[in-house]
Symmetry: C2
Subunit: 706 residues, 2 copies
């Protein structure tokens, strides 16, 4: 088994969307879907831009796909040989996760013989504006060969078209397509510089530019070109200072690989005895690296990474709950960027709070640039009536603000970089605490604060009271705010301190009942007690939404994803193992795992309890979220496919905190390993408070060395 | 125009359910639907029992229909002549509202000539167990005539069958059918005594007994019989001491008419100059008299009166909001019975409060005997999926308890019968106030109490916060409780007094905004502003439910029925005419009037403002609710047809309080008439504090005399 190669050797047209995600490559500035060079928009190719958004009419606001500089096709004797139209004789698509180089090799068979296309390409990690591509064709018979490569401005969009103006240009040595977005007039400029020994001509149409090579091809001779393309926008954090016509493909490729080597040096996790897990885990880490906002400002990571416009290219709680941990311990400057994004979007969060009559900061459920709330009141389409359904993700999922606070808490705990507090994180925490304060309700004859009418992590149950997770996270927010006020600025925030302290002490926090169980929200245990398998039999349409007011899960105890278990995964120290086990065993069979965030939370808690049969499958499910099919692709009638970085970040957390047993106690990095049965050892590096530690776990031995 | 006769002279098969309601007759102990004697259950005949309920399996619990002693059909020359199977040559169905006698005359034409059936019948008001019936047949040709009359035990049920055992018996002089209900084993016994000169034979089948008369009929000769039937149950409040075989039809009819004469003496309202209105109004009063629980204990009036099992035969807020006023001022002992029903069902209301974690008494939304809550969590069937939809009528329509209090307040104010307080009404008020106290929520940094997550009168908007009506009625409850505690039992209830006083002072009560408008609930004015006519164009299915989570009205300002206007109709003195007008003009065009309770509230407020063009049509709509077709017969996929006593009670309120301008000021009966343009006068009696007053309003003159 090659521990760096992901590949598919069978071409399956139906899996084109899935391959697009599985073979994603990117550099944080953009992501390139793992599609074939010849694909037009119906097969969803995309150079998906980080943090660039646009809105068309009253459609959903979403991220923008750049004009596509990969676009290349061939004609042999006048006939186009392209996937998926012409079935291949053989086909292989591969990704080397060590070098982040994507390759495809396709052979078509004709009456005359075989035609072979090979292409390798990469999203440069050394210069994040660049794409490198090397393309070659050969036939085992003499033929008229035509190779066309260009920049396809007729881009794939879900809620587009986003470019109100598209300007294809053929320049002296290169080609260029500029698109201008409608909402904000952002320029997205893509250039290509093609190098080849072949003669070329350029041409263009309304959207695109092309370079054509026409060859009287000899049998067995390889013909081709290399291309350096650049992608820039009018709101870049860093400039592309290079003239791409001067750049050499192999040199750029070497720089790119060198950069990835550095990334892998700190992030690779070696697992002794389980190659499948090692590949899956490092594939997850690969994804986290492809989408990290390196060298960027005020950017975070979208819930579907850079795999397209699904979920509107928006940032969810996923970042702070599941991804930031990895960056904190490998490249903490990226974690800081993620937090800076929240600091930068505080004003948006304050506006949202005001919109709902709340105090403080209520972060966007689907955060776009500047904290713009991308989530609408209608997120699902009813399969029966085709009408939009009112959902409460936007207005009632209050736990988002606590996730922001939790991310900051984790960052400071592991880095001791308290400067971030002065740089705005302190204000974020105070404002989030103010928001929760304004949610607190006290019954006329009670001393306890409650929070009504919320949506917890389990979105299938809307508008519930006292969601255990939400209340507990609000309490964490109050506690964090109090601690920081005491440490830094007591005089300034004295009045708030008293309010937060009162809130912290008096908010209702769910206690385990006589069976050790915590009720997910008021009245949850009174709902119909059934299982996801049974609900599945009640579906009238396989795409119908399970939640909302009348979904099959709504009036039952079946939940979408970890909720009480999400809480326990964060507050492990506050529950006994028996309590954690009781809740795990109660909730897991009632969980649909309809969110990719679910499995890794169950796995984390399983690790804390010691449930060898359970930890590993959930870990593998998380790590393989994008390696195998089976992810949820539909929510009502809305396509939600894409990569699952939260699941991948979750897999890293389970591996490092769960299996390797890394934790921080009294400021010290502790290792209490709890490896899966078939694992003989783990070896990896971690950053902690500015130092790099080497962790080596082998049978009977564990070692942390600086 | 005959001012006492309601009739139809065209037979329309499609209107059979409607005629069943329109021609209803009853005596409070039971109601008889205005169906033909020959109808079997598919045409919905019913002797609907007051306060007798049964539940089959997991179907809805509903009132019970007795075996039907009206059942009669004829055969001529071996062929059955029955409606609707054989189309009539002519047909007339009539109701004399003065005598409460129902008649039908049907002529069929055959090749040989004409056959005429005539029947008159009544639900005896003199002995409420009895039904009297006189039936005759003639043909204008010689023929073989067979008349069969019996007790049909194969009753019409919506959620039946309710009789687990049916025992038909033929006795020496009469016939009998006894049905035993499944849930509680209640016996419902129906007997008939048929008198005729003809020869008779008796026979029976599994459910029913029959008496047959076979005649060689001569042309032009009338043949027939009279019948006295009795209906009794094993849980009667009063016994039927008569042996029905000794009773004479004409004597019983005379006693019945005499009793109705007494009723009309106190209740008839004469209108000079508008016969249509006079008939409609007195038809409404007729209905209120047919369904009043005279001589009964612990009974109230179902929302659809005694017209069948729709709405489960249950008692709603309709009684206290719209009906009790009539009885208070005509037969206050009936009003007292209605209140005693609530006293008697206090334990049920306390249980319901406990079920929802509340203190005090939360009355059943659909109250059955003993305060049993007939309302389920699923009251509507989705037309698209055929699945039951979760509704919040049962759990969130908190205003029901305040309606009970309001009924008591109105009763005491008009009768000065404070003995009812000692007899349990005081406890009812205290317990209702305790319930509202336990709903109050205070935000962490506020001094104001709010009520979250309610359904107000407008059921289309579920789970709203601070419904203006609900908060105001809760305040009325606190205020009433405080006043009574102060007057009667301060020492006993001192602590509660303080709490209620605090609640009364600090509950949020909606204030008119700068335009004089009161917002129906938090955020109402932010909803899409549209009209019912527009929503109608958005329907995908004419039977689809407008409310709930995803109905066409849910996210709009379109409301089902008066809500802010309902509040204003009660608290007229607290708003200026300008404010009332502003709200009337704002809300009325946004109201679907999808409830029969809506029109009379709009009419009442219109009277207070002086809107001559508006008062009258809404009044007539209310008064004619059962006279004309057009009432809502479907809620989702559930049949909800039946009579509309609340609408009829509302019409009385508008006539007496609105048009005649009767009110109580400083303990005095005041008359400030405001007659519709075409009315020249009104003449009626009213009871007030034990005395009977004659009200005479004529042009330029008004007079109240004892």
């Amino acid at each position: 088994m090659k521990l760096n190669i992901i590949s598919e050797t069978v071409f399956d047209e139906e899996k084109i969307p899935f391959y697009g995600n599985k073979f994603l490559h990117g550099n944080g500035y953009f992501g390139i879907r793992g599609t074939m060079e010849e694909y037009k928009k119906e097969n969803m190719p995309a150079v998906n831009m980080a943090g660039i958004y646009d809105k068309v009419g009253d459609k959903w606001r979403e991220s923008v796909n750049a004009p596509n500089p990969l676009f290349t096709y061939i004609k042999v004797d006048g006939k186009a040989f392209v996937l998926p139209n012409i079935k291949p004789f053989s086909h292989e698509q591969s990704l080397d996760i060590k070098t982040a180089i994507h390759t495809r090799k396709t052979v078509w068979k004709t009456d005359k013989g075989h035609i072979t296309v090979f292409c390798e390409r990469f999203a440069s990690m050394a210069n994040q504006h660049l794409i490198g591509m090397k393309y070659s064709v050969s036939a085992d018979f003499d033929c008229e060969l035509e190779i066309v490569t260009g920049i396809d401005g007729d881009v794939w969009d879900i809620n587009g078209p986003h470019f109100v103006k598209i300007m294809p240009e053929t320049l002296e040595n290169n080609e260029k397509v500029t698109g201008i977005t409608g909402e904000k007039g952002i320029c997205v400029t893509v250039e290509q510089s093609v190098k080849t020994d072949l003669e070329t001509t350029s041409f263009s149409d309304d959207f695109s530019v092309y370079k054509k090579m026409s060859i009287c091809a000899k049998a067995g001779v390889e013909y081709g070109f290399t291309k350096i393309a650049s992608v820039c926008t009018s709101c870049d954090d860093f400039e592309n200072s290079d003239d791409i016509t001067t750049l050499d493909y192999e040199t750029e490729k070497a720089k790119h690989i060198e950069k990835w080597e550095k990334i892998w040096d700190i992030s690779y996790i070696k697992i002794d005895g389980d190659e499948e897990a090692e590949l899956a885990l490092n594939y997850s880490i690969y994804h986290l690296n492809c989408i990290a906002p390196r060298n960027m400002k005020n950017k975070s990571i979208a819930a579907r990474g850079l795999s397209g416009q699904v979920y509107k290219g928006a940032v969810f709680w996923d970042t702070e709950m599941f991804m930031i941990d990895y960056y904190i311990h490998t490249e903490p400057e990226i974690a800081r960027t993620l937090i800076e994004y929240r600091i930068n979007t505080l004003e948006g969060a304050k506006n949202k709070a005001r919109e709902y009559g709340l105090d403080g900061a209520y972060y966007a459920w689907e955060s776009q640039e500047g904290g713009f709330e991308g989530c609408s009141d209608y997120n699902i389409v009813d399969v029966f009536t085709k009408r939009p359904m009112r959902t409460y993700f936007r207005d009632k999922q209050y736990h988002i603000s606590s996730a922001v606070v939790y991310g900051i808490v984790k960052y400071i705990k592991a880095t001791e970089d308290k400067s971030i507090l002065k740089d705005g994180a302190m204000e974020v925490i105070i404002e989030c605490a103010k928001m929760y304060r304004s949610l607190l309700l006290k019954k006329a004859d009670s001393t306890e604060y409650e929070i009504y009418d919320v949506v917890g992590p389990d979105e299938y149950h809307e508008r519930v009271n006292n969601n255990a997770y939400t209340n507990k996270m609000a309490q964490l927010t109050f506690k964090t705010a109090c601690e920081l006020i005491k440490e830094f600025d007591y005089e300034k925030y004295k009045d708030l301190y008293d309010k937060f302290e009162d809130s912290y002490r008096n908010i209702r926090v769910a206690k385990p009942n006589e069976n050790g169980l915590i009720e997910q929200f008021d009245g949850y245990f009174d709902l119909e007690d059934t299982k996801p398998e049974i609900l599945r039999t009640r579906l009238l349409d396989e795409k119908e939404y399970w939640g909302g007011a009348y979904g099959v899960a709504s009036d039952t105890q079946v939940i979408k994803q970890a909720d009480v278990i999400a809480m326990m995964s964060i507050f492990k120290d506050e529950y006994t193992k028996e309590q954690m086990r009781a809740n795990w065993e109660y909730y897991e069979p009632r969980t649909e795992h309809g969110s990719s965030l679910s499995a890794c939370m169950y796995s984390q808690v399983a690790c804390s309890i010691g449930m060898p049969d359970k930890e590993y499958p959930f870990f593998m499910k998380s790590a393989k979220a994008d390696l195998v099919t089976g992810g949820k692709e539909w929510l009502g009638l809305i396509y939600i496919g894409g990569t699952h970085p939260a699941s991948e970040g979750g897999a890293w957390i389970v591996a490092v905190n769960g299996f390797a047993g890394i934790s921080i106690k009294d400021g010290e990095l502790i290792c209490e390993p709890n490896l899966p049965k078939n694992w003989r050892g783990m070896h990896f590096k971690l950053k902690y408070r500015g130092e790099i530690y080497q962790i080596d776990i082998e049978e009977g031995r564990k070692e942390i060395t600086k």
